[in-house]
């Protein structure tokens, strides 16, 4: 009996991870497999599944050589990602550094900062859509300086989306950097102070190197999120006007659910995954290399 129990006991860790494994299998592996299957098929949503016709790599050929919207959407996606990540890093770190200096009211300010990231992105998009209307609150404040702006124009639609995403996601950087800053050891700072180092030198030679790994982590996380960002872009201008704000995620949604071309939409999804991996893997490699 005891021998039997000892034999079973070695499977105990497997049992513990079984629920997570089943979850990943059902919600990640199987949908990925289905996406791959549809990406190799010609299938119109709304027709029987059996009508899906195997077409090999035809959908991928369409993506790279026939889809005139692919390159503009990719460029918009990359512009969006770079601005969000770089802007978020600078603003997030700057605000975190300022917060770190405050002693009174710091907790209240942190609580206020959490509000934007706690909101549903689609609700943020709908709310800011009202803000950006011609008689909206944004134009109310900027009219004395610049006059009213048509935010739903090809010139200003993308900046409008960038501002909104920036408003929602910068607190994420602030939270992470602030947590990292408060956990840094104080001795190097004391030593630097004794040596008469300036604030800039202290930041450059002590703070920044200490935060290097955290910067990499948030860059990776935010890049993944920005590359597949959908909610705010969709609810603000739906990818328009024209295709001025159409990112790859919007293009996928339009192709698969508006155009009902599930095969092509699936192929686009997989291409986006590959692009994301192509950007993230070098970062991860650098991260693991810097750890060792």
């Amino acid at each position: 009996m005891i021998e039997k129990w000892k034999k079973l006991k070695k499977y105990y860790p497997l049992l513990l991870i079984l629920p997570a494994f089943i979850y990943v299998l059902v919600w990640v592996v199987y949908p990925t497999f289905l996406t791959l299957k549809f990406s190799l098929s010609e299938y119109t949503l709304g027709t029987p599944w059996s009508a899906a016709k195997f077409v090999g790599l035809a959908n991928f050929k369409w993506v790279f050589f026939e889809d005139w919207e692919f390159v503009p959407s990719l460029i918009t996606t990359l512009e969006f990602t770079v601005v969000q990540v770089v802007g978020g890093l600078f603003a997030g770190l700057g605000i975190a550094l300022l917060l770190n200096r405050i002693t009174k009211g710091r907790n209240l300010m942190m609580a206020l900062f959490i509000i934007p990231i706690a909101l549903m992105p689609s609700m943020v998009g709908l709310t800011w859509r009202l803000f950006y209307s011609y008689d909206g609150i944004v134009n109310f404040f900027i009219e004395p300086l610049f006059g009213k702006i048509n935010w739903c124009s090809t010139t200003f639609a993308l900046p409008a989306i960038l501002i909104t995403e920036f408003w929602q996601w910068t607190p994420f950087f602030v939270l992470v950097f602030f947590a990292a800053l408060t956990s840094l050891p104080q001795e190097p700072y004391e030593a630097a102070k004794i040596d008469g180092a300036s604030s800039w030198l202290t930041f450059k030679d002590i703070t920044l190197p200490s935060l290097k790994r955290m910067i990499l982590i948030v860059t990776i996380l935010r890049s993944i999120e920005a590359l597949r960002s959908f909610d705010i872009i969709y609810t603000l201008f739906g990818g328009g006007p024209g295709i001025a704000t159409q990112t790859l995620s919007i293009h996928i949604q339009r192709t698969a659910f508006l155009g009902r071309m599930l095969g092509r939409g699936s192929a686009l999804s997989l291409v986006l995954v590959l692009i994301t991996l192509a950007i993230i893997i070098p970062m991860m490699w650098y991260f693991t290399r810097s750890r060792s």
Binding site: T47, N150, G240
Partner: protein, 461 residues
């Protein structure tokens, strides 16, 4: 150990809250004592004798008409002994659900709501070798034991009957029909001595006038123009009146690069210039809100917008709105007619019982009750009563501009089958590019023509 007093207190609170929920929860109104004519009673008795005890499951979209139907169902259940279960979803979720059901190859309900754009595709499924999805109801309509005289099929607006048909067979009964009209600020038109537009040119001139010369409004006309379903829907309302076309399903030829089609696109882009700033981001809610806020002099929109226009809680211009038939284009009168109907799936095992429910819910006899409960008017006799200021215009538009050969050609476009949607998206995107000036209307139409010809080749092949 939890003190007894705390347990008792919690129990009291739970019982109190449960009681509040039970007594205050809104209940469907009971049928109450009603006197029915002999014809209704004999029909009900016949249905009960054949189908009493049956249980129907119907899936519907969230809509005022569905709300009205739910209030009418208890009477039907009492009269016929047929139990009815309604599953209701918002339009977006409903569409997703419908797509999954169609993927499975069956609609496992006894009845379902279906938009007119999808009906021809579903009716055509056997032609593509797909399973039959919906059944024609002509035999039910002709069967006097199932369809009494007080149903009055002919009283339903002809165009609404038309869009619930395909290939000469009727598949559904309209539950929420609508057409497109011009809604205008009667007060401003009177002040500036203007008449409502009768032609496309007059609409454009009026839009320009009100935008440029009238300080009370910011825009001449509010209209949907967002890339996607919205801009194509709006343009489509003008396209056929210009003499243009998309795909003629009878000849399977694309007409996107016809001169008239290009001209209609140019006209629509021109019209949008007299719209509100940011119009390229306008879908139905934005276009409608802009007019109801008093910012535009006119609104080109589906008649579903009319009730909200006249509700003082939703509209600052309630009571100041005139309704005009959709204007005549260079090629003639043509007004879009749209709507959602109730259809019977082929998979239903209770088709006759389901038909009896449809008869009850959409009959002429029950129409006053249906309208009182907030349903959308679909019958000539209801619209002729002119209960609301827009009824007369809806009737005129659907009976006249919605019944012309051009209007019928416009509706026939949806009969190109499942490829309707990919083509629609493709056209919407090129149209959006023309709207922002990245390409000319001619180039946009050329691209649409090429996309259409690709689909036609596949269809014919």
């Amino acid at each position: 150990m939890i003190p007894k007093i705390k347990i008792v207190t919690v129990l009291i609170i739970v019982v109190a809250v449960a009681s509040i929920f039970y007594y205050a929860w809104p209940k469907a109104p009971g049928p109450g004592p009603v006197e029915y004519p002999e014809s209704v009673l004999s029909w009900a008795e016949n249905i009960r004798s054949k189908y009493g005890g049956t249980e129907l499951t119907v899936v519907m979209i969230t809509h005022p008409s569905t709300d009205a139907f739910k209030k009418m169902i208890p009477e039907f259940e009492n009269l016929t002994g047929i139990k009815v279960n309604i599953s209701e979803y918002d339009e977006v979720t409903y569409t997703d659900k419908l797509m999954v059901m169609l993927g499975e190859g069956t609609i496992p309900y006894d009845g379902f709501a279906c938009a007119m754009e999808l009906l021809p595709t579903l009716a055509m499924y056997p032609e593509f070798g797909y399973p039959e999805m919906i059944v024609p109801i002509d035999d039910f309509i002709a069967d006097k034991s199932l369809t009494p005289e007080w149903f009055d099929f002919e009283d339903i607006l002809p165009a609404y009957r038309d869009i619930m048909s395909y290939g000469g067979k009727t598949y559904g009964i309209m539950m929420a029909g609508e057409t497109v009209m011009v809604m205008y600020r009667k007060d401003l038109f009177e002040k500036y001595d203007k008449e409502p537009p009768r032609t496309y040119d007059e609409l454009l001139d009026l839009a320009k006038f009100f935008k440029e010369e009238v300080p009370e409004v910011e825009a001449g006309v509010s209209i949907r123009a967002e890339t996607g379903f919205q801009n194509m829907w709006s343009w489509g309302n003008f396209l056929y009146g210009y003499g243009g076309g998309m795909i003629d399903p009878t000849t399977m030829t694309a007409e996107f690069n016809k001169k008239e089609t290009v001209d209609s696109l140019k006209y629509f882009i021109n019209l949008c210039e007299y719209g509100p700033v940011g119009i390229l981001g306008y879908s139905f809610p934005e276009a409608w809100a802009n007019f109801r806020e008093g910012k535009s002099a006119m609104l080109v929109e589906a008649s579903a917008a009319c009730p909200g226009n006249e509700d003082p809680e939703q509209s600052v211009v309630a009571g100041k709105i005139g309704y005009a038939k959709f204007p005549t284009g260079p090629a003639g009168e043509c007004a879009g007619v749209y709507g959602t109907g109730i259809l019977i799936p082929a998979a239903s095992e209770h088709k006759e019982a389901m038909w009896s429910l449809i008869v009850w819910l959409t009959s002429k006899y029950n129409s006053p009750k249906y309208l009182e409960y907030g349903g959308v008017a679909n019958r000539v006799s209801d619209l002729e009563k002119k209960t609301y200021p827009y009824y007369e215009t809806i009737l005129k538009t659907v009976m006249e501009a919605g019944n012309t050969p051009l209007a019928k050609k416009m509706r026939a476009y949806y009969a190109i089958g499942p490829d309707f949607y990919p083509l629609w998206l493709s056209c919407a995107t090129f149209m959006g590019q023309a709207q922002v000036g990245n390409i000319t209307p001619e180039e946009a139409c050329d691209e649409m023509q090429a996309a259409a010809e690709t689909i036609i080749a596949k269809f014919v092949g």
